[in-house]
Symmetry: C2
Subunit: 376 residues, 2 copies
Amino acid sequence: MIGGRATRSLFERKATCRAGSNIAFIKYWGGAEVATVQAGDQPPVRGEGLNIPLNNSISMTLADAHTTTTVAWEDSANLPEDTVAIDGVQLKGSAAERVVAHLDRLRALAGVSDKARVVSRNNFPMASGIASSASGFAALTVAGAAALGLRLDATRLSAVARRGSGSASRSLFGGVVEWERGWGRGESEGGSGGAPFLRLDSALLDSRSVAHQMYDERHWALRDVIAIVSAGAKRVSSSSGHRLAATSPLNAARTACVGAWLETVRRAIAERDISLLGPVLEADALAMHGVMMTSEPSLLYWQPGTLEVLHAARAWREEEGVPVYFTIDAGPNVHLICEADAAAEVERRVSALPAVRRVLTSGPGAGPELLDGHLF
Amino acid sequence: MIGGRATRSLFERKATCRAGSNIAFIKYWGGAEVATVQAGDQPPVRGEGLNIPLNNSISMTLADAHTTTTVAWEDSANLPEDTVAIDGVQLKGSAAERVVAHLDRLRALAGVSDKARVVSRNNFPMASGIASSASGFAALTVAGAAALGLRLDATRLSAVARRGSGSASRSLFGGVVEWERGWGRGESEGGSGGAPFLRLDSALLDSRSVAHQMYDERHWALRDVIAIVSAGAKRVSSSSGHRLAATSPLNAARTACVGAWLETVRRAIAERDISLLGPVLEADALAMHGVMMTSEPSLLYWQPGTLEVLHAARAWREEEGVPVYFTIDAGPNVHLICEADAAAEVERRVSALPAVRRVLTSGPGAGPELLDGHLF
């Protein structure tokens, strides 16, 4: 069960959750949408919309980049439609539909037809390379389920959150987290060619493609120094981008590498070895952006400031010995990963770069927490 | 034979050649250095240093980005060492050695031990994504061979120039040029897996991995509007970078795509169809940079200004219908490819971008030309 400081009546029907975003060391990019998903003897279904990843991914949950979400369920006689506000703005169109589809999943689990009022706040800019959908769908899942009185463990909640946003499955846990793709010929990582045999079904609580905690937040004092170079919204959302991965001629080559990279990252984290972790971070991020750039249509998430930070970080490391490495999500901002004792120096340097508008630093955080107060 | 306006005495021993750079539509990146090169029944030799490419490439020779080189041979009693000046600077170290190694090839062909004075001038910044080595080694080869009285056709000169710099093989011809990799199981392009059987030997004049002209410079009035965003020299030269291609996990995936891309480019050029050519240009350039970024060490040739131009060009095309497409060589500058009637508009727009320091526009040019005058 998700931790919370208050006991809650089943009849309150309102709950608030704060969940941390996460930064992936090995990325999730591209799902098994076009493959067939089959569970045991049941008829196969298409993987589309299930957010089943092509490869396992590993992330660190962030303490200081989080989303706080209140969900209040009301009888549809009183509230005819779901309403969703994020950072003070009422969602409309496809963004609203994505949240409503997730509320539908919670309604289906609870067997209710109530509507929800959802109010959500991020403490960082949305849609710019910090995974707001990860923390957002994790918080929505936990708050929504709690307010409905659903008694689900974090693993089951991870499976539900995954349906809203793949990377949200990882934000159900604190510390260092691995999300198992949950399908394939028994391997636990990327594996190589051949038609995938997906062992997963489409049930909401299927616990195969879910995340688990590798180490809690005290294992390794890493820091993510996030250089925000542009707060503008992305032209292509991550969820659309995932569907394009398969159109890149480089995609299969990247996923074929991921198995070895996962092994290295697991070992680097076990041994708390930044010089082992760092080069793999950079390689996987660059490979993912290589896939993005060569998909059809081509996704070019980087901005001029992105490259300014990349070149600076490499120069600091190679010419001055600062132990810092970069990774980049589906956006222009650069995540500079270092150990705690280097963070102040990295922050100082990155803040001085002309293209950097804001710097946000986070260490590893705990899993989602239910809060006493509500956002309305 | 290479065109020239003057007849030249075999005894003059001095010649000047102007050769155009070229912009590749399908790139040369990565050579068959580690493969074994075998010709007929002769013992196999290593491909290293032969500049035998992994894939065919296609380029347009540029009229207005060129190198002019004078080579004067003198008895080694008078001139004990080769001397090489480029843009007024005497070359030293590895840069000088690379030119001397090429002079050695010309000496071997002529059976002489004379030394050379080489003076060369580019009309564009060196080592910044305009192929100065292409025009430079083409001009050096033609001038050096002419001054030695070697009577070689352009195909043989292409094979010699290739040894100095792979892309120089293409600058031996005007218009649109294809460089055949010249090895493999009979295919004329990239092909797929399997151990390559190289049909090429290491002879200087071997005419298998050489370029040929597809169309002369009057076939299609394309323009290369070159946005120079940084005139700084590269930290890693292309010739070093080629050796790193094989270390990228994405390299094989790119070369596997090139066969189809070559077909499309050949058709687009035959039909003078910019909307067919453009997307392939961009895809191959981005795939090549994906390979570069993920090699070990990682090569990040782009600068902030590079991305400013890429985003601008896409916005002009997608939002305003300007028919312009980009490609990028091993450097930060962006080559905007369009038809002649769009060039003024593209020039105007690109000149207004803050990151662009200089704009150089070129149409298709003729092959190398021997000139009457000399640079000293």
